[in-house]
Amino acid sequence: MDELMRTMAAAASGMRAQSARIRMSAENIANADTPGYQRKVVTFEEMYDRTNETRAVSTGEVKLDSSPVERQFQPNHPLADADGYLEGSNVNLMIEVADSREANRTYQANLRMFEQARDMNSALIDLLRK
């Protein structure tokens, strides 16, 4: 496998990792009002891809944010516990939006690298034409 193909594999691994991150952000935002929900965090790791011979990025274990969930005193609420507290989630919308923006930016950078490698490859192939 030549370098440009390996380049495209590396860029694809980056795009895959970033889209996993955006998916986690979307799940967190969807569950922002679920009682007792802990926000999920995706971790990135460096991995040597043996088939493509490239230092690809992979998503590691999905971890739960262990910060305390929001508790509000609402004794009238049907979901309130024995002490009259209603449990929320520990999702901070501001953090999720910022996180998905950053993922979006890095995804675009990876996509640009993919396109550039593809253009270089097709320019090479064009040499064969007269």
């Binding site: 380049t7 980056g14 490239t54 230092r55």
Partner: protein, 129 residues
């Protein structure tokens, strides 16, 4: 007419160098958010050229002969990044810096292919086709 094809070899080496450098830069961008990742790059083509020219390698006349020498310049990556690019999580990739490097690589690759194509055209003209 003296046939000097070293320009073709030089152009092909520049294209190889660009492809190798493109791979390193793409790996950096893929790892733009990996904690603790150190951005890498390989030396400019001009610098590797001075070190590795002239190439020498042992001739292999039989299959059992052991290859040694340096037929192709090797492009070893080393850690380098823009000033102040290190983040709190130890990652040293700056997307802007990497984009600049990638554009440079793309220009070099275009140049190499342009020179290659032009040289072939001149050859073709000289043999009257």
């Amino acid at each position: 007419m003296e046939l000097n094809l070293s320009v073709l070899r030089l152009a092909s080496q520049l294209a190889t160098h660009s492809a190798a450098r493109q791979q390193v830069i793409t790996e950096n961008i893929a790892h733009a958010d990996t904690p603790g990742y150190r951005a890498r790059d390989i030396a400019e083509f001009e610098d590797t050229l001075n070190e590795t020219m002239p190439h020498f390698s042992a001739r292999q006349t039989r299959p059992g002969h052991i290859a040694f020498g340096n037929p192709n310049p090797s492009f070893e990556p080393f850690e380098v990044t823009a000033f102040g690019a290190e983040g709190p999580n130890g990652n040293t990739v700056s997307l802007e810096d990497q984009m600049m490097r990638a554009t440079h690589v793309q220009e070099n690759h275009k140049l190499a292919l342009g020179v290659y194509r032009k040289s072939l055209e001149i050859l073709r003209t000289s043999i009257g086709r």
